[in-house]
Amino acid sequence: MLELPKRKNPVLRTRLPTLPPAARSRIALGLTAAAALGRFELQQCRDCGTVQYPPREACQGCLSIRLEWKPQSPEAELLAATVLHHSNDLFFRERLPWRLGLVRLDCGPTVVAHLHERVAPAPSRVIVAAKLDRAGQAVLVALPDKEANMAEDRQLREFTCDPKFRKVLVTDGKTALGQAIVKALAAAGADLIWVGYAEPWKKFAGFDELKPLPQVTLLPLDVTDSKNVREVAAEIGGKVDILVNNAEYHRTYGISNRPGVDTARAEMDVNYFGLLRLAQEFGPAMRSRGADGLASATAWVNLLSIYALANFPPHGTFSASKAAAHSLAQCLRAELRPAGVRVINVFPGPIDDEWNQLLPPPKITPAALANAVVKALQEGVEDGYPGDVAQEWLARWRDNPKALEKELST
């Protein structure tokens, strides 16, 4: 059981972040693509059904090139285990001893996997999952059972962004979603939660309920104000382990039903430039703290929208601003990667709030979305599509982006 890390001696050197080996062949990135969504998929031959691992270009059973990434049973047997006391790689060298297992999947292949400390000695049954490591690449992990929590394991905690014991900034505490995120983070064991709020004179329901939470510190933060963002980053940036950017400006206009660019500009100012300002001011400090002990800087969560994938014309300019934010988040992901800080993009469908009043259900509740954010942190995924609408849009988009565009434009 992990315990709250001791307070850091502020004059000790903070070690520089290192990453596990990140090089992969292009075909192997299929494992990463699934793991980014929290899925365990291996290549399977369309012609003979053979499941393949390691990833390859042609079927080892029948030489067919029709290999498809398919969800596979995670059931497996641990054949043999080892504990590394030596490694040629800096990341692992700093974390020795390190447990590994040779695991036979029930679906066929034998794989090498990181081993959870609760796994019984070989031979024993395990559950294999594909997880993103600190380099943002997929690795296989052997867990004792389906309930096993990676964060309880000293070695596998490195692959999660678990908020437990961590210090979190939630950029907007004035929305129902922001408040739900704060409460979910507190329930997940966050050590300290800074909650930003803009335009403090405007009253918002529920805001006062945050004040009594012992973890919460409220602070004025307006992501449209560069100077303010810079000052807040100067004040707390060196301590933020997880930044949840949920600040959002949402109006429900397309191009022709709202004259002028003012509203669209306001959406861009919060949704896109807000992210840019935060990234410029908080990014450097977080990059420097990627290896700061058990509670290192670990994740950056962006509240995007499923409309970032394909424009929803009734909310057209909002969709565009989220698409811009998505693109920028990819840049941020690349820039934070050397520090092992994960950028998690959350793409919800319509949230049950004022600005989606006229959209029919289902709409994701703030509480459900907040739980999805915390779960994404705990499980170390990179992209989340919480809710039925988001899942359906994602499925349609993956199936045929052009078809989705046509469906949305009618």
Partner: protein, 386 residues
């Protein structure tokens, strides 16, 4: 059509370029030294040599063909065999056929690598696509981790103990003390073996080869030519090679030898009991045991009992890895695949000095190479006689 034998093929001039732990030289330097020693050993100029075979991990971006210009060679037969520990046997097999067919008369087979301070890590990181995708990101333990799995599984399945592996390692160290080029020059006791620090459990320090720089080589030519040159030689009596055997075994407990050993002994007209010595590929002791089983010296799973029954020094009941093997000489990259071969030549040409196996007439050499993902893919063996 039945397979043609290896009649008339001679293997000669065992060369080891003395190993060093680290070298600031390139692989070319080591291979050049090896070739020069080979030519000196048979009294030929490089212009007289018309076949050349190379194995190396660290020659990149060059291959054998670039080396011809680098070294000023003009062979009419050229081979590059990047198969790691299986290379030596494979180089020998191909060269033997070239000599038999007349494609080349005198073939120099060289294998070697340099070892800079960081080159082992770089070799591991880029060893293969599967290793890069599915092994190296898991702790970057290299072959230590892969063999730790096999060792743990073997120990659990067949009841072998660390003391058994230790017996092999201690015997080989005894042999190495009589081989001038071995990097390990101090005796090893079983107590020291057992007390060594863990590397990748259950492997400990003396279970693991030490990467180093060096080169080994030999000459393949016709018996007739060898006689004219007046050099000692061994005859090639039989040889096998197999890759990716038993691919569906969940964990590697056997390799191609188990599939092809009958063929091997039939070619040579001998059996395991006829061997005067054996040189296994011994990067980890479990692999030696696997070879002894697969090559028929004992049944599968009886390795532990076999170890307890035999002694493995040069003058023991079952002389094994008589120069000390890689575990005591060092692993000079691809040269590890030829280390046993050159030692077999020394034994059969009576050049083994203080560790000469008495009346050695027949010896078996095996090779094993390329942990591409979770297991070694290539296996090969040769029986040499004098």
């Amino acid at each position: 059509m039945s397979r043609r034998g290896y009649e008339g093929v001679a293997v000669a001039v065992p060369v080891t370029v003395p190993y060093v732990r680290y070298s600031i030289r390139a692989a070319h330097w080591w291979l050049a030294r090896c070739l020069a020693e080979l030519l000196k050993g048979c009294g030929l100029r490089k212009e007289d040599m018309d076949g050349f075979s190379v194995s190396s991990f660290t020659l990149a971006p060059d291959t054998a063909i670039g080396l011809t210009q680098h070294l000023g060679l003009s062979p009419r037969w050229l081979d590059h065999v990047p198969f790691g520990g299986a290379s030596g046997i494979v180089q020998l097999r191909r060269a033997a056929r070239a000599v038999q067919s007349g494609d080349a008369d005198v073939i120099a087979c060289v294998a070697g690598d340099t070892n800079h301070v960081d080159s082992f890590r770089l070799t591991l990181a880029n060893f293969s696509q599967f290793a890069r995708d599915a092994v190296y990101p898991y702790g970057a333990g290299g072959p230590n981790a892969s063999f730790a799995f096999l060792t743990a599984y073997y120990m659990r399945t067949y009841g072998v103990k660390r003391e058994d592996f230790g017996k092999l390692c201690v015997a080989q160290r005894d042999n190495a003390l009589r081989f001038a080029h071995a990097l390990f020059k101090k005796p090893l006791t079983l107590e020291e073996y057992l007390a060594a620090r863990p590397i990748a459990e259950p492997l400990h320090l003396y279970d693991c080869v030490m990467p180093c720089a060096g080169a080994d080589g030999f000459i393949v030519l016709s018996e007739e030519r060898a006689k004219r040159l007046g050099i000692g030689y061994a005859r090639l009596l039989g040889t096998i090679e197999r890759h990716n055997a038993f691919a569906t075994d969940p964990v590697q407990m056997r390799a191609g030898w188990a599939l092809d050993r009958a063929d091997l002994y039939e070619q040579a007209g001998t059996g395991p009991q006829d061997m005067d010595f054996v040189q296994t590929y011994d990067d980890y002791p479990v692999i030696s045991v696997m070879q002894l089983e697969d090559l028929g010296f004992c049944a599968k799973g009886e390795g532990p009992a076999f170890i307890r029954r035999q002694s493995f020094t040069w003058d023991g009941s079952f002389p094994l890895n008589t120069s000390g093997g890689q575990l005591s000489v060092g692993q000079a990259g691809a040269a590890g695949g030829s280390l046993g071969l050159v030692e077999a030549l020394r034994q059969l040409t009576r050049e083994a000095q203080g560790r000469q196996v008495k009346d050695a007439k027949l010896g078996l050499v095996s090779g094993f190479g390329m942990i591409n993902f979770d297991r070694g893919l290539g296996s090969g063996a040769a029986i040499l006689g004098c």
